[in-house]
């Protein structure tokens, strides 16, 4: 049963990777990275059960806690850029 979930997760990771490679804007790529991060947390949890060692959930916990730091760093990176550009009225 774990296999079905694992397959779904891995295929979704492939889809997210495709989105990250296709782009087109930088935000799409950040979105894909974030999505891949969530999928990785779930995949690590499922694999821990699949391998019969549920004591290895620490790994998924680590990702769940710190994976979004990367997203914040990206936003900080772009916010400073956006703040400097003149306001555009649509």
């Amino acid at each position: 049963m774990y296999y079905v979930v694992t397959f779904a997760l891995i295929i979704t990771m492939a889809l997210a990777l495709t989105r990250a490679i296709l782009g087109p804007s930088v935000y799409d790529r950040v979105l894909a990275v974030n999505m891949l991060g969530t999928k990785t947390v779930l995949l690590l949890s499922v694999i821990a059960f699949l391998m019969g060692r549920p004591d290895f959930l620490d790994l998924a916990l680590a990702y769940a806690l710190i994976n979004f730091i990367g997203v914040f760093a990206v936003l900080e990176f772009f916010r400073n850029r956006a703040a400097k550009q003149p306001e555009e009225k649509p």
Binding site: M1, Y2, V4, V5, F7, A8, L9, I11, T12, M13, L15, A16, T18, R19, G23, P24, S25, V26, Y27, D28, V30, L31, A32, N34, M35, T38, K39, V41, L42, S45, V46, F49, P54, D55, L57, D58, A60, L61, A64, L65, N67, F68, V71, F72, L75, F78, R79, R81, A82, E88, P90
Partner: protein, 110 residues
């Protein structure tokens, strides 16, 4: 009882797998940034809600269940936060959904 728990956990996990896949498909196939964010963001929340309780039913009352609960809580905190931050950053940068083709910041200018 054992069988019932197994069946319940299988149903939860399969549903989670389906939602995960739908989210991935949406993130790939949707036409612009905000709709993709919608697909990815919502399934990023619903998939842990389904899959992790499914695993908890398998683990029973052990330390693993507590860790799974922690993972669920942290995922539910960080996932929507990241989506929110991402959406507002894209909005701030002038990324408008209805005219995404014309105003999306091309990467050459980033």
């Amino acid at each position: 009882m054992e069988l019932f728990l197994d069946i319940a956990s299988w149903i939860l996990m399969s549903l989670g797998g389906v939602f995960v896949f739908i989210g991935g498909l949406g993130a790939l196939r949707m036409p612009d940034l905000y709709t993709r964010m919608h697909a990815a963001g919502i399934t990023d929340s619903i998939a842990p809600i389904l899959i992790i309780p499914g695993l908890m039913l398998q683990a029973g009352l052990t330390l693993a269940s507590v860790k799974l609960l922690a993972i669920l809580v942290f995922l539910l905190l960080t996932g929507p936060t990241a989506s929110n931050a991402l959406a507002s950053a894209a909005l701030l940068a002038g990324n408008r959904s209805e005219q995404v083709k014309s105003t999306a910041v091309p990467e050459s200018e980033e």
